[in-house]
Symmetry: C2
Subunit: 428 residues, 2 copies
């Protein structure tokens, strides 16, 4: 225990929402970069997506048919059919090469541009086409009004319309829109880089064999995936032993190179919990170190030279929750997202949860559906499955403090982990 | 129209479920590869995840406290406190270096291995620690039974337990489990490669300026993102003009290099729809070319030399739906997924949808939540927003054929696009 001082302190817990508000008040930089559209899926738009031209970009035919001057059809009827001379065929992408004269028609394909003199489209099925002396004709038996079957320029979207707002995550439909308007390179939010250190002398690396008294570091690998899911770049830093000088030096060194730094473990008040001392020596501004929540009550967040230092618990569930509740919204905000918090919905509990909740409790949960109702059950309620429960977790129940237990059938708050769109603050 | 033959045929529509069944009957290869755990997020496990050792891997302390031999505490009481000599402090990762004798205790940290002679843990708060003549002691005022506060080896998971099944998509919790058991490299399903050609002489590439009569290819870029979301590798191939020989040669050449080939457009029965002729000349086995669904009724799937050829519609919504309904499950199956189809749930319609549905209809939709109910509304019902509706689409309503319209308040089937877990067949 050389170099380890016991930190004797009485910590005062604050509420979850107070804690989250303190964290998101620290505004990190919002940087942008240009990426090719083919690398833009799941990135966040850093500028509004604007219709750079009208859609459709010209008057066009929505069907295969014949383009005519409507006035030429005005007298056509079953008894007095009207025959047109078909002077040209235009496919999509082609433009009529001639001026259409009275009594003439143009065979036109779906999506092709309407000849300038024409103002109606006759669907293929309503015309009788024939050839005579190598000239093409078609006959109709009714009149067609001006504008019939025409998709007019700009009828879907006018030039300059804001179609998708800055801060939206790019999905396949967004990609289609970006392509439509020629966004070959897209201005997106630059992903922040987040370093992850595990602390604890008991931790082995991935490739190491087990040794008596030691376990493999699993929290770091979980966090790397959580960081990726949240849209940031994880930086793997390995683990630090319970040695103060080593921890202090490494944390200081790395904090200068990343946008945020996460450590797991060592934030409690035990003999080997070094993080409080590290923050003290760094003279970091500790926003809080005790939250009225379970798990994760010792989650600590500090600011040092514009870098956020997240001290998450070494307990896997607490670490998972701590990331999603406190780190994820900061990432989302630096990505310009308007709704950076986990999506909150309600669901019917389908299993009793008899534990009393003196503090806000986050319970790893599994979501199912029954008719149009969302149902939820704890994913790791049986101790035997504790280790694999997080892999089966799609949501957290958020049970308010000061409640007894919950019965099957009760409606509870649920935070979803995998939705494209999150929630705005506040959850409460 | 050189080289273009009009394909005159009467197509017989089959039902959506018949069509999907025909496609998934074609078994593509299921290949595996090893990837480092840090690159494994969102990949699919190609082998069961097995507990390679017990969890915990040894008897350990869940708290900071003192390890004792319980029998030594049997006579302790408020009136007759029992004092132990504290012979050593062990942190997590360390092992007690001495044999613990009667009347001795060991200061032990959370997660540390229990000394072999000890069988109970006294929490820190229940002991009075003090030093005298440079020797450490602690006193307790009650008895502690054998097993008190001990996490026993294997109590969470026994060695050899299958924790996660092959075919599961790796999420952050799975990453933690893989790390726990030392899976430095993970056997995952190899992603199939899917080529995408757009067809149509009207199509401009991303970087091109608009020209009269032409529009930019947007379907391809949408499909690249859909392919990525479904877990496969998209290959961008650009667009093909409406020229038969060029189309035929390119499609044949590319089909030999990819696992699946998607084309968009050209599958209908118009003069410029070349795909039916391409399939005929390839002597590909056309599984179907007409489905009783809207949009996407002309979606065609053919098999040529073990390569699936998907002929999707050129209409953006039809193209989107065609991919999700027919291509996605094939990708999922080649990734060993047990539930490769879009997740089907029910939702309450919150907007009337008065259109009659002679055929199964897929409506791009937006999902919202009210209390514990899922609600759905069309995302592009107003024509003016047609072009951006797919970007706001999180789901498709699936309305059965032979129904009139639907009223607000009706409960309808909904296919979710963004869930981690899909549905097993059948949807119907």
């Amino acid at each position: 225990m050389d170099g380890v001082k016991r930190v004797v302190e009485k910590r005062t817990p604050i509420s979850v929402s107070e804690a989250v508000k303190k964290v998101i008040k620290i505004r990190l930089g919002q940087e942008t970069e240009l990426v090719h559209l083919h690398g833009a899926y799941r990135r966040t738009l850093a500028e509004d997506l604007i219709a750079k031209h009208s859609v459709p970009p010209f008057d066009r035919s929505p069907y295969d048919g014949f383009a005519i001057r409507s006035e030429d059809s005005s007298e056509a009827s079953r008894d007095h059919p009207k025959t047109f001379r078909v002077i040209e065929t235009i496919g999509a992408g082609s433009v009529c090469s001639q001026h259409v004269q009275p009594g003439e028609a143009v065979r036109i394909m779906t999506g092709a541009m309407l000849p300038i003199e024409c103002d109606a489209i006759v669907m293929l099925e309503l015309a009788d086409a024939f050839s005579k002396d190598e000239i093409d004709y078609m006959t109709i038996k009714r009149a067609f009004p001006s504008g019939h079957n025409i998709s007019y320029k700009g009828e879907d979207v006018g030039e300059g319309t804001v179609l998708i707002q800055k801060g939206t995550v790019i999905n396949p439909g967004t990609s289609a829109l970006l392509a439509t308007f020629g966004y070959e390179y897209v201005k997106v939010a630059k992903k922040p880089t987040i370093g992850v250190y595990a602390t604890g002398s008991e931790l082995l690396d991935l490739g190491d064999s087990l040794e008596p008294g030691k376990i493999r570091n699993s929290n770091t690998h979980m966090l790397l995936a959580q960081i990726e899911r949240a849209g940031a770049i994880p930086r793997y830093l390995g683990s630090l032993p319970d040695e103060f000088d080593r921890c202090y030096t490494k944390i200081k060194e790395t904090a200068e190179q990343v946008d945020m730094l996460i450590t797991t473990g060592g934030v409690s008040v035990g003999d080997f919990d070094l993080l409080p001392e590290v923050y003290a020596k760094l003279e970091a501004d500790v926003l809080f170190n005790k939250i009225a929540m379970r798990p994760g009550s010792v989650t600590t967040v500090a600011v040092w030279q514009d870098t956020l230092l997240f001290g998450l618990s070494g307990n896997p569930s607490a670490c998972y929750v701590g990331f999603e509740v406190f780190v994820r919204p900061v990432i989302g905000m630096s990505l310009f997202q308007e709704k950076p918090h986990l999506k909150k919905v309600k669901a019917t509990l389908i299993e009793s949860f008899p534990k009393a909740n003196p503090f806000t409790r986050f319970v790893p949960s599994h979501v199912t559906y029954s008719n149009d109702r969302i149902q939820v059950s704890p994913s790791g309620f049986n101790k035997s499955s504790a280790v694999s429960s997080l892999a089966k977790t799609e949501a957290f129940m958020m049970l308010p403090g000061g409640t007894r237990g919950y019965e099957s059938g009760d409606v509870v708050d649920v935070l979803l982990l995998e939705t494209a769109e999150g929630s705005e603050w506040p959850w409460d």
